[in-house]
């Protein structure tokens, strides 16, 4: 059914394209959110992706490549959004003020500590390149195989493996830096 929709959309059937996007929109939003982490950026990336999918679909030669091709366009859209929005982001570490006015670090295991832990991860994750984020999200969140990621990103499977390894290592180093 998806192949049929892709073929119809490729030939210019707007309804088929709408149906196709509705089928994939939730999954695309999920991947974009995990990579970008910012609602406005996600919205822009989805917008970019859909415009590109509609415009470029006639050039897709084999309809069964559509899922991987769509992934590639989505990752590319995330890259474009981040590049365009090279802006400084201010994030607040949740610290409490004590009764005497001095700052207290959150107690380990408390909701505040959990929040700080999440924020720590997000800051570390967002130091990674979009390509590094994409391989981590596609593999660890979406459960895509190395071969599927290679097809989506149009890179050799060996490169995917090395990117996965490097991304994981860079993330752990960034976490160390953020924790200090």
């Amino acid at each position: 059914m998806t192949d049929l929709l892709v073929e119809r959309a490729r030939r210019g059937d707007a309804d088929a394209f709408v149906a196709l996007i509705e089928e994939r929109q939730v999954a695309m939003a999920r991947v974009a959110t995990a990579i970008l982490g910012n609602e406005a950026d996600v919205a822009d990336a989805l917008q970019e992706t859909m415009v590109a999918l509609w415009r470029e679909l006639p050039r897709l030669r084999t309809v069964d490549r559509f899922p991987a091709w769509a992934d590639a366009i989505l990752v590319n859209a995330c890259r474009l959004v981040l590049r365009r929005r090279a802006r400084a982001r201010v994030r607040q570490v949740p610290l409490e003020s004590g009764p005497d006015g001095d700052l207290r670090l959150p107690v380990r295991g408390s909701p505040e500590a959990e929040l700080a832990d999440r924020d720590l991860f997000d800051r570390a994750f967002e130091t990674l390149s979009v390509d590094a984020r994409a391989v981590l999200v596609l593999h660890h969140l979406e459960g895509r195989s190395v071969v599927a990621i290679a097809e989506a990103l149009r890179i050799p499977a060996g490169t995917v493996k090395s990117r996965l390894f490097a991304a994981r290592r860079d993330l752990e180093r960034a976490l160390e830096r953020e924790r200090r």
Binding site: M1, L4, R8, R11, G12, D13, A14, D15, A16, F17, V18, A19, I21, E22, Q25, V26, A29, R30, V31, T33, A34, G37, E39, A40, V42, A43, D44, L46, Q47, E48, T49, M50, V51, A52, W54, R55, E56, L57, P58, R59, A77, L80, V81, R84, R118, F121, D122, F125, L136, V137, H140, L141, R168, L171, E172, L175, E176, R179
Partner: protein, 510 residues
């Protein structure tokens, strides 16, 4: 610092869980405003650029600054769209561009059209087709039935689709389906007089060449209603022994039959595409042909994604029955009445003119009553032309009826709640004498709303001696501005009722 796979996945799941509403990007709007790249030449098609530019200009002219955000999507560059849809605050359901406001209808008779044949010809259904129409029906001449398909690019010039296969067909419904059309009707084989006709389904990509796609082995007899949508094609029908069922088809006409085991008091009047997939509508609390129920019926709507499991929707102030559901302006609009279906199938019941009640829903599951369109008169006997007859497309509803003055009354709405009157101007100088047959005949034929106006078909005045009778197509062309020199139709001469005794209780003459 090491990070386990589980920790990594948990953090990524948490990030993904913050996914914003996924209707931030409206694919339909993107399609409408984004020209495609030509795969052969690697450049934009000039027609695409022109249409996109025209869309932008039109949008700006029509609706002003509120649509400027949409217009910015028309940029051929993906990189330019970051200013458009995508702000966190835009979480409302996507709405299509506003419809063009019509200022009036310029009513004229379409001359020289191929609508006259030996025997009796009827128009059963039609749809907008580009800027024109595709209309279907049939001619009955003795024992022969011939299917008719008419097409028009503008509502004023018509041509008849021809083919030998039409000589045994009879068309009753036409729908848009996927990137083509579907017709429902009957196929009588070589001997129509033998009474062995069967129900049939035809499919066409271009509206001129048709292929039969009837479900194999099906004995469906009466297609009560049909709808086409993204989930496929759905027909509500009954078989030869009266068992109701759904016939569901995917895009490749792979059919599935599902029994429709509704409670005895449920009446399904139709099915529409929308919501989770399908919407059935009608009434509950109905009695049989011989049963009068004092408590009457209540309008009801059910939703389903697969035509197997149906869930009753919440209908605020449900009235007595619901007759139709249309998608208008990105929302679902249901049409019905306050009157109870008291006696299903009773003969001889003459209902008074009725108001049209409207409900609106965003998702098909929860319906809010929004309006009531009153008939011009509620006097018993003024039935046919006085009750509003509503036609709609994806952007507007038009309601037609005769006013108490006998003048045609057309009202326009974009949401089913707010209606404004639309002048009907006599573009052909038809005058008041032929108003009943020319504009709003008492015997209603389909009113088909298109992008450029509305088409309907009046029956030719009956002449027992005529060997060929036909239909008089009437086209109401949409006017963006009311031209000078055209006048509204004059009132119809008052009809003297024939149910009053003659003076002095004397026998009346003929």
């Amino acid at each position: 610092m090491t990070l386990s796979d589980d920790e990594l996945r948990a953090h990524l799941e948490r990030r993904a869980a913050a996914t914003p509403p996924v209707d931030l990007a409206d694919p339909a709007r993107i399609v409408a405003s984004t020209p495609r790249r030509d795969p052969a030449r690697g450049r934009l098609r000039s027609i695409g650029i022109a249409s996109a530019a025209a869309s932008v200009v039109l949008a700006i002219v029509l609706v002003g600054s509120s649509v400027l955000r949409d217009a910015s999507l028309a940029s051929p560059s993906p990189a330019a769209s970051s200013l458009a849809v995508g702000t966190p605050s835009q979480t409302a359901p996507p709405t299509p561009p506003p419809a063009e406001v019509w200022k009036g209808l310029l009513w004229r008779e379409v001359a020289g059209a191929p609508f006259t044949f030996p025997g009796d010809t009827v128009v059963m259904d039609g749809i907008a087709d580009g800027d024109g129409f595709l209309v279907v029906g049939y001619t009955i001449n003795g024992n022969d039935v011939t299917g008719r398909i008419w097409r028009s690019a503008d509502g004023q010039s018509w041509r008849l689709v021809e083919g030998d296969w039409l000589e045994t067909a009879q068309f009753e419904r036409v729908l848009r389906f996927q990137d083509g059309y579907v017709m429902l009707g009957r196929e009588s084989g070589t001997d129509a007089g033998a009474g062995d006709s069967r129900q049939a389904v035809w499919w066409s990509v271009d509206g001129s060449t048709w292929v039969e796609r009837t479900p194999e082995g099906s004995d469906f007899l009466n297609p009560w209603s049909a709808a086409a949508g993204r989930s496929g094609l759905l027909i509500y029908s009954s078989d030869k022994v009266g068992h109701k069922h759904w016939l569901r088809s995917d895009a490749d006409f792979r059919w599935t039959r599902v029994d429709a085991d509704w409670p005895d008091d449920v009446r399904i009047f139709g099915v529409a595409a929308g919501g989770a997939g399908w919407l059935a509508f009608g009434a509950t609390g109905a009695g049989g042909p011989t049963t009068m129920r004092a408590e009457g019926t209540q309008g009801a709507i059910w939703t389903s994604s697969d035509a197997v499991s149906w869930v009753a929707a919440t209908v605020n102030e449900p009235g007595g029955q619901i007759h139709a559901i249309n998608e208008v302006g990105g929302r679902l609009v249901a049409l019905g009445s306050n009157s109870s279906l008291r006696c299903d199938g009773c003969l001889g019941t003459i209902p008074p003119p009725e108001a049209v009640v409207t409900w609106v829903s965003a998702d098909g599951q929860t319906w809010r009553r929004t309006g009531q369109l009153e008939p011009a008169s509620t006097r018993l006997g003024e039935t046919g032309a006085n009750s509003p007859q509503v036609t709609s497309d994806s952007s507007r509803l038009l309601a037609f009826n005769l006013a108490t003055t006998g003048q045609p009354m057309v009202r326009q709405s974009f949401d089913g709640a707010i209606w404004s009157e639309l002048p009907v101007l006599d573009a052909d100088g038809l005058g008041s004498g032929g108003l009943g047959i020319h504009v709003f005949p008492d015997v209603r034929t389909p009113l088909i709303l298109g992008h450029r106006g509305v088409i309907t078909f009046a029956e030719d005045p009956y002449d027992a001696d005529a060997t060929a009778r036909g239909l008089l197509p009437q086209f109401g062309a949409a006017a963006k501005f009311l031209p000078d020199g055209l006048r509204p139709f004059a009132s119809r001469p008052e009809i003297i009722p024939n149910d009053q005794p003659c003076p002095n209780q004397e026998p009346c003459g003929p």
